[in-house]
Symmetry: C2
Subunit: 269 residues, 2 copies
DNA sequence: GGCGGTATGTACGCCATCGCACCGCGAAGC
DNA sequence: GCTTCGCGGTGCGATGGCGTACATACCGCC
């Protein structure tokens, strides 16, 4: 699924942009990493790596989309991250670990640059600027994971669905794509019926349209309003983290900090 | 809270062990990192860093416990990680980012080594072995975060409570510690009443005992059986990741892998 | 142009948790 | 010794999601 819908409206599809992590590398870093390789075609449903297995490559999507799915006993799994041309799959290798805890599932077919583990390791040793970019992205991913945990815990299906659609549209560079309720239920960790209900509600509010797996966003601003703040948060945090912007200057509690400590203990009391 | 209960039974308390990350460093790395510093006393309720603010230090707990709490609109927050002498607080700095997305809340008073951001950065540039240890821990944290997301989504309060108690006992090096239902409800992201109910159930099963905040584990094996598998998973993944053990050798789907791709697409209907 | 399979819509009873309210007990402080 | 307050226990109706089952509608294929 997530195939483009040429019949519908090619105008919906924006021009694919290069992978943002690769774009941030110096010319030399990029050349040494990619050599003479060509981007690879990834097909929907393809599993790049099963959880707990060895990572042989990292992938830098161009216009493909990769779902990060965590394993959990008694359930099919739960999507905890979404990777498009803004990121990479295979962060553990960037941290010196050659096992992936997360299943990499191609959720939108398209192309991606692939780099093998050994070459990545060599270039990481050699280049501090490469490390800088990939490690910053590792931090982005950590932010996403913790946000995902809280969002999954507290937000209802409808707002989560809205967020998911927006995030996918961004990564697909299109406002329309193909995905079934069944697949969505797997990603969101809810029943298929739960997705149907939420999707029906969004459709009644004239925010989306869908028909047998073809979903299109018809009111982007409305959908953003209907989604949880996590959508905006994720975008903001990506920018801030990758650009190395200064945090807002606030009172940082350190040293003894007895007052603040008591305050928060009180709040919880 | 999480103060020791000397009256109860000092025998409950095991000898504190040194911070495991520091223990993994070479003598030189460790000396350059810690200089002539002494470990710091951290008091319960103290906030090491608010989410979104600048990280001035990293902390390596010895016998203190630090909760990683993610911010979420409309809620008090949600604990997404627990750091004791097996880890560190301030992973973003190890990845070259000087803002923490997660609140660092001292949840168990005790001591920790503190290293300032600049010195850490210098030593990271200098030492690949230091990078190796800290980046491996960053990976451990990512595994914990994704596990936490799924656990929070799918597991009921009682099993999650059991897991929390076990994890805290491990990090406190004691089977008894002090914590109120109110505080637990904040950590687990549920109502206070929800904790009371779950705790009552565990008590009736003779796995724990508690009285006005003093909780003790009286049947560790039973509590492990009552907790979700996430407890065992976290322990196993920590070991595997930090020791750099080989993954189990399995069929890694790569290249075309059309068969596997079709299979999983089928499963999802 | 009928048929089978896929995708979606709806219904029903159940359960975990929610939000709120109220009560009782025990510890610390006046 | 009495009061106050923090902590834990219980009850009640509401709600969001679950598991299951079944109905409908559409597509592609023969």
């Amino acid at each position: 699924m997530i195939k483009k819908i040429p019949a519908d409206s090619p105008s919906r599809r924006r021009a694919p942009r290069p992978n943002e992590l690769l774009a941030r590398l110096s010319r030399d870093d990029r050349r040494r990493l990619l050599r003479n390789d060509k981007p690879l075609e990834l097909a929907f449903g393809h599993v790049l790596c099963e959880p707990g297995e060895r990572l042989h490559y990292v992938y830098f999507p161009v216009d493909s989309i990769i779902s990060l799915v965590t394993a959990i006993d008694g359930h099919a799994g739960l999507e905890v991250g979404l990777v498009g041309n803004e990121g990479m799959y295979g962060v553990p290798l960037a941290l010196g670990v050659d096992v992936s805890p997360l299943k990499g599932l191609v959720q939108g077919s398209g192309t991606a640059w692939r780099v093998d583990a050994l070459r990545l390791r060599r270039q990481l040793q050699r280049s501090a600027s490469l490390r800088n970019v990939l490690h910053r992205y590792a931090e982005v991913l950590m932010i996403q994971l913790s946000m995902e945990a809280a969002c999954t815990r507290f937000h209802v299906v409808e707002t989560r669905l809205a967020r998911w659609l927006l995030m996918t549209a961004d990564r697909a560079h299109a406002d329309a794509f193909h995905i079934t309720h069944q697949f969505l239920s797997y990603m969101l960790g809810v029943r298929r019926v739960g997705v149907t209900r939420a999707a029906t509600a969004l459709r009644r509010r004239k925010l989306i349209r869908y028909h047998r797996g073809n979903i299109s966003i018809i009111d982007r601003a409305g959908l953003e309003a209907a989604s949880c703040t996590c959508y905006a948060t994720a975008k903001r945090e990506y920018k801030r983290t990758m650009n190395g912007m200064r945090p807002r200057t606030g009172t940082v509690s350190r040293g003894r900090g007895a007052v603040r400590a008591r305050t928060s203990a009180k709040q919880l009391g």
